[in-house]
């Protein structure tokens, strides 16, 4: 699996993602500077990491969505290849319309960093193919603008097509507002595009890959991607 991590000025989870992917899967990772207009040849997965791209000035992810590298990221996505946006990366994906919806300030209006429980709602994606449907995993969140919002009709479309991949739940997998840290509609934590190759999520799988840091549920996430790519035949016609 060949991974490229885009580094925007202000990215601060770039090294974390690189560490996590490299040390969990033992594969090489390229760092791609935001001024590049091309993604390195042969890249399987492009990751837009978390952080505060361009200081999150204007709106979270808004300036990054218009940076030189994003043209190449869009082409990569349109070819059907994999794009993953974590946290600020998710915000960049919605700002660049590669994913629907918008990420608004948390209902508490404050930044929240804590571990959350998520249920894996869709295991038919390259990012979740090794999980079991409904499996509860623990990934930390750390964001100020994580309230995912879609107008009712679009939300219905999203849910109907299985676009919701992760949802905030209780440790036992139950729903309920008290388990939703930021006020997202339908407790949504992560979504995928209709083609299934572009995933955005607010929680950080890269923060859940080592027991010494408190949990290893994130490893299955990376292994899913690797396993999907090994079966390369499915790379096209994902749906």
């Amino acid at each position: 699996m060949r991974t490229s991590v885009v580094i925007f000025p202000g990215s601060n989870c770039d090294q974390d993602v690189i560490h996590s992917v490299r040390d969990t899967l033992g594969c090489e990772v390229n760092a791609v500077w935001h001024r590049e207009e091309r993604i390195p040849e042969g890249t399987d997965l492009v990751i837009l990491p978390g952080g505060f791209s361009y200081g999150d000035y204007l709106r979270s992810g808004a300036i990054a969505a218009r940076s030189p590298v994003m043209g190449a990221v869009r082409e990569h996505a349109e070819r059907g290849a994999l794009v993953l946006g974590i946290c600020n990366g998710f915000q960049i994906l919605t700002e660049s319309r590669l994913l629907p919806g918008v990420l608004l300030p948390n209902k508490t209006l404050s930044f929240i960093c804590r571990s959350c429980f998520l249920s894996v709602e869709n295991t038919e994606t390259p990012f979740t193919c090794l999980f079991e449907k409904g499996q509860v995993v623990q990934f930390p969140i750390a964001h100020g603008d994580g309230l995912f919002f879609l107008p009712a009709d679009e939300l219905e479309d999203l849910e109907n097509r299985g676009g919701t991949v992760f949802r905030y739940v209780s440790p036992r997998g139950d729903g309920g507002d008290e388990w939703n840290p930021n006020g997202s509609v339908n407790n949504i934590a992560g979504i995928v595009n209709p083609q299934g190759n572009v995933l955005g999520l607010m929680p950080h799988p890269e923060r859940a890959c080592e027991a010494i840091l408190g949990g290893e549920d994130g490893r299955l996430f990376w292994r899913s991607v690797a396993s999907f790519l090994e079966k390369g035949s499915r790379r096209h016609g994902l749906q």
């Binding site: 505060f52 950080h204 080592e210």
Partner: protein
């Protein structure tokens, strides 16, 4: 010449005049006013700070640089320092706190270290006070927003509430970074013929003379001080961090200095003074935010996110290209030269010329009169034994746990990214914060703590207790202390009783540092923390750093299991003086804190580290605020298990349960390890308390509460 309006005293003016052979001009006076302020020159405290031990086998760099460095082994060092930003935070809580965090991060960066983690010390007024809500919300958001965006995790800290901080809250920021010992950047290595370079944000009118502002009492109308407040830009700081580290990696920097207090003037003159070179600066080359700034404004602006670099001329093009990549302004503003002259030119005209050595260290020291306040004896002699024991122990314990100074601060630390960088093994909410070092076995353990109430009752004993409790917490977790940094927050030194307290506190801290082999490697003094409505308690805050050889040697707290045997190690003669128990009952703050015993502390530390290394216990917690009762309740809440305790001690139960001070800890030991545990602690007071288990925590003859009830109170605050 009215020198007093520049904060210059008569004797200081005389020294300047004699050195120059003429009257200093206005620009020079303003420079001296800031450089000779308490904040920059330590004129009231320099001689007191000499009490601190500053050397030790692990000390690589002691006080005097931007931060201290200790040896972590295998060529790696930890650079760390704490600094106060109290006055700005009192006036503009959000920006004051944010720039406090930004400033301390740059201090670490200036040594060429990558910032690894932060902690904060927050001291707020009464929780019911109207101002407290506003100030604490702003300060917490300021700390969080800055640290989160910069990508430096905030992994722990101390928060306390007391009415003495109503008007004058304290914000102390701590930062630690990692540096390879053969790649430390210094502020003392400039040579004649090199370039003086400004990297980072443009210079504006914000924060002019902030250091002088920090060196006086807060005025009644603090709004007038608004121009002294700096505005933080964490995005610019993130760029600055990456740019400086890239410059260091490429060996392009000769010397580097953070531009904190007093801006260009202090950073450049400090580099010149420490390196023994002269300097010529051209202020018309400084990138400005406002076109018409006066030379003295440029000299004293404390605009944030700037770094002063000394560069060899042949490297300048490479430096500029790194700056362009990170979208930072970069300007050559002067050059170093032989001699002792520090001069500033503005459009060709010489506007200031001072001897480097005059600015650096010729400010006359001040020995304020010192006198022990008359009421100390009376307060010490207050008969705490005359207090009646609690009528309802359950209520007493619950009110103790619900006390805002005690309860876990989720509302605060949930706003901090405590995990970014993937090193946080134990974050906020634990008695000790623990970080791993990637690619190595060893862990770094950190504590940031204070006990102003004991310092207020007996500054010597309180100062010693403050240092000792940080080391106790580290030892119980299995860490050996490497060194500490301090923030000395005190009121005006001009009041003899307050100066005495400052002196005594420092002596007490020094005694504990000496006894525990834990030297002071960096620190900061913040005086004049008082307003018309009163002075703060003496509040030395201590950040202590320790090393744990491997993850298996790290002992957790709050990890009881059914059937574990609970032990109290340490003397039972703790004191109610200055305790949370007395404070939460609203009783007079009287009595005398326990005397410091260096021998007992050292003995305790060695046994505690031995316990962790031998894996002789499952869980351990050093006793601190709230005493044994609080430790039992916290461990029980976190373990989700109760315990049945019998105290077979003749001493008063309230003293045993709620008393504080002394080298004591609560341990949970698996049955099979009890003999080993007893061997380690033989010859030291060691009392078997009972067994962990069940769903309620009860102490015979005192309280009995369900674990669920304790958790409810504990978690809801």
């Amino acid at each position: 010449m009215d020198f007093s309006k520049y904060g210059i005293r008569k004797e200081e003016f005389a020294v300047a005049e004699a050195a120059l052979g003429r009257e200093p001009n206005e620009c020079e006076l303003r420079i001296l006013g800031v450089m000779w302020s308490e904040h920059c020159s330590y004129k009231s405290t320099k001689h007191l700070l000499k009490h601190f031990p500053v050397r030790g086998p692990k000390v690589v760099l002691g006080p005097g640089e931007n931060a201290g460095i200790v040896d972590l082994g295998d060529g790696l060092g930890a650079a760390f320092k704490a600094e106060s930003h109290n006055h700005p935070s009192a006036v503009a809580p959000y920006q004051g706190a944010a720039t406090g965090v930004g400033g301390i991060i740059r201090d670490i960066l200036a040594l060429g270290a990558r910032p690894l983690a932060s902690m904060d010390g927050l001291f707020f007024g009464d929780i019911d006070n109207r101002r407290t809500g506003h100030l604490s919300a702003g300060i917490v958001k300021g700390v969080g927003d800055y640290g989160n965006a910069v990508g430096v995790p905030t992994v722990g800290g101390k928060t306390a509430y007391d009415s003495c901080y109503n008007e004058n809250p304290l914000l102390n920021a701590f930062c630690i970074g990692l540096v390879e010992l053969d790649k430390i950047v210094s502020s003392q290595t400039a040579r004649p013929g090199q370039l003086v370079v400004l990297l980072g944000s443009k210079t504006g009118r914000d924060g002019i003379a902030g250091a002088a502002f920090a060196s006086a009492e807060l005025s009644e109308d603090a709004k007038e001080s608004r121009p002294s407040i700096q505005i933080g830009d964490p995005f610019a700081e993130k760029m600055l961090i990456e740019a400086c580290l890239e410059l260091k990696e490429k060996n392009l920097i000769v010397s580097m200095q953070d531009m904190g207090a007093a801006g260009i003037t202090s950073s450049s003159s400090e580099v010149a003074a420490k390196s023994g070179v002269g300097m010529k600066l051209h202020f018309d080359r400084v990138p400005l935010r406002a076109a018409d700034m006066e030379p003295w404004e440029i000299a004293l602006s404390e605009s944030q996110e700037r770094m002063l670099l000394i560069i060899d001329p042949e490297h300048m093009e490479d430096v500029s290209s790194v700056a362009r990549k990170w979208e930072l302004d970069c300007a050559v503003i002067g050059e170093t030269e032989e001699g002792d002259d520090y001069s500033i030119f503005f459009h060709g005209e010489k506007v200031a010329s001072l001897p480097v050595s005059l600015i650096g260290d010729r400010c006359p020291p001040i020995h304020w009169p010192s006198e022990r306040p008359a009421d100390f004896e009376t307060r010490w002699n207050f008969d705490l034994d005359g207090l009646t024991a609690p009528g309802d122990w359950n209520t007493t314990l619950l009110s103790l746990l619900g006390n805002p100074s005690m309860s876990p601060k989720h509302w605060i630390f949930d706003q901090y990214d405590s995990m970014v960088q993937l090193n946080t093994v134990r974050g906020p909410g634990h008695p000790v914060s623990v970080l791993r070092i990637k690619g190595r076995d060893s862990l770094i353990a950190l504590v940031f703590d204070a006990d102003p109430w004991k310092c207020g009752l007996d500054p010597f004993r309180g100062g010693a207790e403050t240092v000792a409790r940080t080391v106790r917490a580290l030892s119980v977790a299995g860490a050996e202390p490497l060194g500490l940094t301090d923030c000395l927050n005190f009121p005006s030194p001009e009041v003899p009783g307050q100066y005495w307290a400052l002196e005594e506190c420092i002596k007490g801290m020094a005694a504990a540092c000496e006894a525990l082999g834990c030297p002071v490697v960096s620190g900061n003094v913040s005086l004049y923390n008082e307003t018309k409505s009163g002075a703060i308690l003496p509040t030395p805050v201590v950040g202590t750093v320790g090393l744990i050889p491997s993850p298996e040697d790290c002992l957790p707290s709050g990890a009881w299991e059914e059937g574990d045997v609970l032990f109290l190690v340490g003397p039972c003669n703790a004191s109610l003086a200055g305790s949370l128990y007395i404070r939460s009952l609203g009783l007079p703050e009287s009595g005398r804190p326990l005397e410091f015993s260096g021998e007992a502390e050292k003995d305790f530390s060695e046994r505690a580290v031995g316990t962790a290394r031998a894996k002789a216990a499952r869980s351990g917690r050093a006793l601190a605020g709230g005493g044994l009762a609080a430790a039992l309740a916290k461990d029980s809440a976190e373990s989700g298990l109760g315990a049945r305790i019998t105290l077979g001690i003749p001493t008063r139960k309230d003293v045993v349960l709620f008393g504080e001070g002394g080298a004591r800890a609560l341990y949970a030991v698996p049955m099979a390890r009890v003999p080993l545990f007893k061997v380690i602690w033989s010859g030291y007071p060691c009392l078997e308390l009972g067994r962990a288990g069940g769903d309620s925590l009860s102490v015979e003859g005192a309280f009995s509460l369900t674990v669920a009830r304790i958790q409810e109170i504990w978690r809801n605050n």
